[in-house]
């Protein structure tokens, strides 16, 4: 692949994520993130050529919401496009913006991911993705105990539960450093057992403490062509590559029969074509879309191309914490904040902030040259984005 021209992230904006945004309506919530992103980029709306918009209609039951949201997005008189792909939406929007700029169609593109989950019933909304004549009566949103069971089968109950709670508390410790994060509980490692015990059970061994939040919020990322980006921004975060792997709908992906997951498949392909052989050593930070800590601990090995024992060791040795070998989710991740249509974009936005050196208190120590961000959604779908500090060089 040869990219037509480079694309850099030059501005990031996020509303505060919260379950209580009764003071703003949908366009007003978006507007907060738009203004912050414009300010971060140091540009005005006049500099933006195109607005990319995405969320899921059934979460708020607004049909073609980009029409109403124009009141807050600033899309009036501009070119726009609306793309949505479930939980991966935010990451897909980044791919859209990257393509629109790299193609030469636009020089500056603003992508907006949004959700106001307080206005709907998230689990019922997700359940509606099932076939109306079969699965819709059976599904319970994105809740499943399968990943907990898988880990317990693999590592034994004690080790598995300990790792899950360790991961959970690490995410909270990261969230405590991120003023935008929704759930900042102040958890301590020695509370692990009582927390898990007191937390209500959702499905199987999946408890409420393990699961991601439901948040209101918007995320905005501004992209510019190489020439513009260098004009606007001291240190853009360059989009080196991205890969999207979706899969078929109903075919049960759970159980024993061996298969390559979308995560493994996407990671292997992306790393291969970018010459990355040891992601844990070569990447400086990973913002992973982790819907629960059980999924989180399971997916480390899949994304990092390591054995599950090595993945467990990364958790046990604090290597996924800020300051560790490969910090995961310095922002606190999805477990801390989850406005679904924005969530995957927040992963990219946070990875970009790390490269730009603008992550504030949750900035990881040392140079961030390469950052990975993932989006998750749909039927075990994955999107991976690779960001770099140096502008990529494309050889014929």
């Amino acid at each position: 692949m040869k990219k037509n021209r480079n694309v850099g992230i030059v501005g990031v904006g996020q509303s505060a994520f919260s379950s209580h945004r009764e003071d703003v309506n949908q366009p007003e919530l978006i507007n907060e993130a738009v203004n912050e992103a414009l300010e971060h980029a140091g540009i005005t709306l006049n500099d933006v050529d195109c607005v990319v918009h995405g969320n899921m209609e059934l979460f708020e039951m607004v049909h073609q919401p980009d029409m109403w949201h124009t009141l807050g997005t600033g899309a009036y008189g501009k070119e726009t496009i609306r793309v949505t792909t479930g939980g991966t939406t935010g990451a897909t929007l980044v791919c859209v913006a990257d393509n629109l700029v790299a193609s030469g169609m636009h020089d500056v593109v603003m992508a907006i991911g949004f959700e106001k989950l307080q206005e709907g019933n998230t689990t019922a909304g997700i359940t509606n993705m099932s076939d109306p004549l079969w699965g819709r009566r059976l599904q319970t949103g994105a809740l499943t105990g399968v990943f907990a069971q898988k880990a317990i089968d693999k590592y034994g109950e004690e080790k598995a539960k300990k790792a899950a709670m360790k991961y959970r508390i690490i995410m909270d410790k990261h969230a405590m450093k991120n003023p935008k994060a929704h759930r900042r509980l102040g958890l301590e490692f020695d509370e692990m057992d009582t927390l898990a015990e007191n937390s209500p059970t959702l499905v199987g061994d999946l408890k409420m403490i393990h699961m991601c939040s439901q948040s209101d919020g918007a995320c905005v990322v501004i992209f510019a062509s190489e020439e513009k980006a260098k004009e606007i921004c001291k240190q853009p975060a360059w989009i080196k590559d991205h890969i999207t792997v979706h899969r078929e709908e109903a075919y049960c992906a759970f159980g024993d029969a061996p298969h390559t997951t979308t995560h493994e498949y996407a990671a292997q392909k992306l790393f291969k074509r970018n010459g990355i052989t040891s992601p844990v050593d070569e990447l400086d930070v990973f913002e992973m879309y982790d819907p629960s800590c059980w999924w989180g601990i399971d997916w480390i090995s899949e994304f990092m191309m390591i054995s599950s024992d090595e993945a467990m060791k990364l958790i046990e040795d604090d290597e996924i914490m800020i300051g560790g070998k490969i910090p995961f989710n310095p922002s606190g991740g999805v477990i801390a904040s989850n406005p679904i249509g924005a969530t995957a974009m927040v992963r990219v936005a946070e990875a970009a902030l790390q490269i730009m050196g603008d992550a504030g208190e949750h900035q990881v120590p040392g140079e961030v040259n390469q950052a990975l961000a993932s989006g998750f959604g749909g039927v075990m779908w994955t999107v991976l984005l690779l960001l770099t500090k140096e502008a990529p060089v494309w050889n014929e």
């Binding site: 819709r136 809740l143 959702l202 049960c252 159980g255 029969a257």
Partner: protein, 385 residues
């Protein structure tokens, strides 16, 4: 969290005002009892009973479907929206025992609680003035402003400014200008609820003497904060509950149609990929791996083994009806006889089997007597003993 400033908000008031805050849409067709054990100082025990839309709040706990336990402080903060209920729930600050599905509905029972207005007195307004002096506003000013506040809770005061030095005296003492108002209007003006100019032009307040001095007086003091904290936080924010319902006609298409019709005759059909031979149940039009139509049907099952099971304790509304289901229930993937690998059928297990069912157990379908070609033609799968 600033619960200390909300001394007017009590658990008794929160529950006492509930019957007047019923949201008719939220309780329509609902019947349940929700118990609340509010512990600590100012706590109490209450039961909210909803009987087909009719709401009563009783003291004490009376045969609840679900019971919520929280400290008075936490419950007040949740009610005021200062503490996120999910956060409180997750971190164990509140506990819920019983039917979680009912709890989901309870969030819609009532309109938002609005705490009673904080106790603002004329005495407090004038008494706090010396501590609220705005040095910029009084610099170089010398004057005396009299205030004759009439009616219940009123009083007479003089604000004396001597080259930036401010004293508030009781009684009227040689004022340059005197303002007369009743106590309620003066409180409203102070809190910004009533516009002073409007009040003046409409005769609600009277001013005698040097009007120019009054113009300066507006700058003498910093904003009055009532004892209950900022009023602004309690501004009413509107919420509109709606159940949005659009009737649909869903097409089965020939593949799903064949499968669903088979259920009427207690037969389970999978379709087979002509290339890789894999089975899909329910059938889909195409084999995703080979990207070819899969038109051949084979009968499988009806018995099989449990491949994956999820015991679900969290009730969400059924999107086809808007109704919440009973919990717990078991969502299972069943490998029917004649299928292999991931070729499982998704259905439910008999709730009676929850405690004993495990992966690998053999199960059989329990058929509905009235079969129409739908997912509910099979009531559930049950363990074969």
């Amino acid at each position: 969290m600033s619960s200390g400033t909300d001394q007017k908000v009590t658990i008794a008031d929160i529950f006492g005002s509930m019957e007047s805050r019923v949201n008719p849409d939220g309780v329509k067709g609902v019947t349940c009892n929700c118990g609340y054990k509010i512990t600590g100082e100012g706590g109490g025990e209450y039961t909210v009973t909803v009987k087909d839309g009719d709401v009563k709040v009783l003291e004490g706990i009376h045969s609840p479907d679900v019971t919520t336990t929280a400290s008075a402080e936490n419950w007040i903060n949740i009610t005021l929206g200062k503490l996120d209920a999910t956060t409180a729930f997750t971190s164990g600050m509140i506990k819920i025992d019983g039917d979680m599905g009912v709890m989901g509905k309870a969030a819609m029972f009532f309109q938002k609680y609005r705490p009673p207005a904080p106790e603002v007195t004329i005495q407090d307004i004038f008494g706090s003035m010396e501590s609220r002096v705005n040095p910029e506003g009084v610099k170089g000013v010398t004057c005396k402003c009299g205030y004759d506040i009439t009616g219940d809770g009123g009083g007479q005061y003089t604000v004396s400014v001597d080259d930036g030095n401010v004293k508030v005296l009781e009684g009227i003492h040689e004022p340059d200008v005197t303002t007369t108002s009743n106590a309620q209007n003066w409180i409203d003006i102070t809190l910004g609820k009533l516009d002073a100019t409007t009040a003046f032009t409409s005769g609600m307040i009277k001013i005698e003497g040097d009007m120019g001095v009054l113009g300066k007086a507006a700058m003498f003091f910093k904003k009055y904060i009532p004892p209950g904290g900022e009023i602004e936080e309690q501004e009413e924010l509107l919420m509109l509950p709606k159940v949005i319902s659009v009737p649909q006609k869903f097409n089965t298409g020939p593949k799903m149609g064949k499968f669903l019709k088979g259920l009427i005759d207690k037969k389970l059909y999978a379709n087979k990929c002509p290339e890789c031979k894999r089975l899909q149940i329910p059938p889909r039009e195409v084999c995703a791996e080979c990207i070819v139509r899969a038109d051949e049907f084979v009968e499988v099952g009806p018995d099989g083994i449990i491949q994956v099971l999820d015991i679900t304790f969290f009730a969400s509304p059924d999107p086809l009806t808007g109704e919440s289901r009973e919990t717990p229930y078991v969502s299972a993937h069943i490998l029917l006889d004649g299928c292999k690998g991931h070729e499982t059928l998704w259905h439910e297990l008999n709730p009676a089997n929850i405690k004993t069912a495990k992966k690998g157990d053999r199960v059989r379908p329990v058929w509905n007597e009235n079969r129409t070609g739908s997912v509910s033609d099979i009531l559930y799968y049950e363990l074969i003993e």
